[in-house]
Subunit: 246 residues, 2 copies
């Protein structure tokens, strides 16, 4: 599929709005993704209001796409709706636990990717914000998410106003394993990362960050152990707060 | 997209094999999905060997697709490769924690859905096995997954030998929320689930299961609280075993 093969994340959007009808059509198609036991354990919150975007932005470290995109979508793992249905039907729901969170998160993420594919196929550009699970508490408050609902992905959507270079990917021999996982030798690691490390933009990145290696930009600047530990604790607290801790 | 709009899970496959070249091409395209910091935190284990399928089957409650499909794919959250690279580049990886597991699982699930879309677009049929996170321990042993690698999704793939009816979906008004989450009133729950409950196959399902309501099939038979609690504990142990517990 050309739209997948040629895709790139879009962070700048034109002023053109995304019609509600188109958005709903894309979401409805996206909901065709596989879902556990056909329970559809997800909800999507649509943000179009400028003030709501401004209030959401800090949860996403003020990345400018949040306020500049015509639409922001927050995909949530949702066992609230299903559990409410059970309770109204003399059935006792038992989904306030960790596996149920992961089942619902899985459902939500499959739908998220399906939506992105469909949006791009229609000429829209999207940006996936990984920040959603870094500050879920703020998002829960703003979007008024009840118990058994946790945000797992945020997508900004609009018509592209840029066409950035396509980022590199690792060679597939570094990702696909035949029959069993063959753990990497040092030589294989060198081979798999050689192209990435050879790219001028990555060499430049190392230079301006004053690190010795590209990997150090990840471990010492972008995705630090201390931040990960802090956010792990935060996420565990959020699962508890949202009732997925039984 | 017609292939998404008309999709259905395929559980019966023809004898026709899926060529390795096609499979690799589809996976390579799937790897174009958004990935956190372009780290590509996933691996895919390809199972074609009949004996390996037989050994994998029990982990998936012996669902027949595992042994009858020409190809079984296990998508894994993988921070092993990236961490090994860091260690070889004088960088100290800090990804042995819960948020890193969820970041890698997210990367892996986006790629999984992308693969499914691409496979279906090429006329293949897929079945998503939610059982992967129910018995991850067995899968880890069989596929020899090292620390910082956890299986999160399994897909059986082959050419369709059936065309089942398309399952129902909830009306989108039950899933999409404007600006903020509007929690469901009892009347809204009745409305959202009315169509599902009205379907003859679901009424039949209630009859043969001797339950009073459709919801009770989920809570009392298919996805029971006690099973969920048991699997939650198992999954937590697996995260610890695989080193995501710091």
């Amino acid at each position: 599929m050309e739209s997948i093969k040629n895709r790139r994340t879009i962070r700048k959007y034109t002023q053109e709005d995304v019609p509600a009808e188109l958005l709903n059509e894309l979401l409805e198609e996206a909901f065709r993704a596989s879902t556990m036991g056909n329970m559809q354990l997800y909800s999507v919150v649509v943000t179009r209001d400028a003030k709501m975007k401004e209030r959401l932005a800090p949860a996403h470290f003020n990345q400018p796409m949040v306020t500049s995109a015509p639409v922001v979508l927050t995909f949530c793992a949702d066992f609230n709706r299903f559990s409410k249905w059970c309770e109204q039907r003399k059935a006792e729901p038992g989904y306030n636990n960790f596996i149920s969170f992961l089942n619902a998160a899985t459902d939500a993420l499959l739908v998220t990717q399906n939506f992105c594919t469909l949006a791009e196929e229609k000429g829209l550009g999207i940006c996936y914000l990984g920040t959603t699970i870094y500050n879920p508490d703020q998002i829960i408050d703003l979007l008024k998410l009840p118990k058994l609902v946790v945000p797992v992905a945020t997508i900004t959507v609009g018509y592209p106003d840029e066409c950035p270079a396509q980022p590199d990917r690792l060679p597939i021999r570094g990702i696909i394993h035949e029959e069993q996982y063959h753990d990497y030798t040092p030589a294989e690691i060198d081979d798999i990362y050689a192209y990435k490390e050879s790219l001028p933009e990555n060499k430049h990145f190392v230079e301006i960050n004053h690190t010795e290696t590209l990997a150090q930009i990840f471990t010492d600047i972008r995705y630090k152990k201390s931040d990960n530990e802090y956010m792990s604790e935060g996420l565990k607290k959020v699962l508890k707060r949202q009732g997925f801790d039984d």
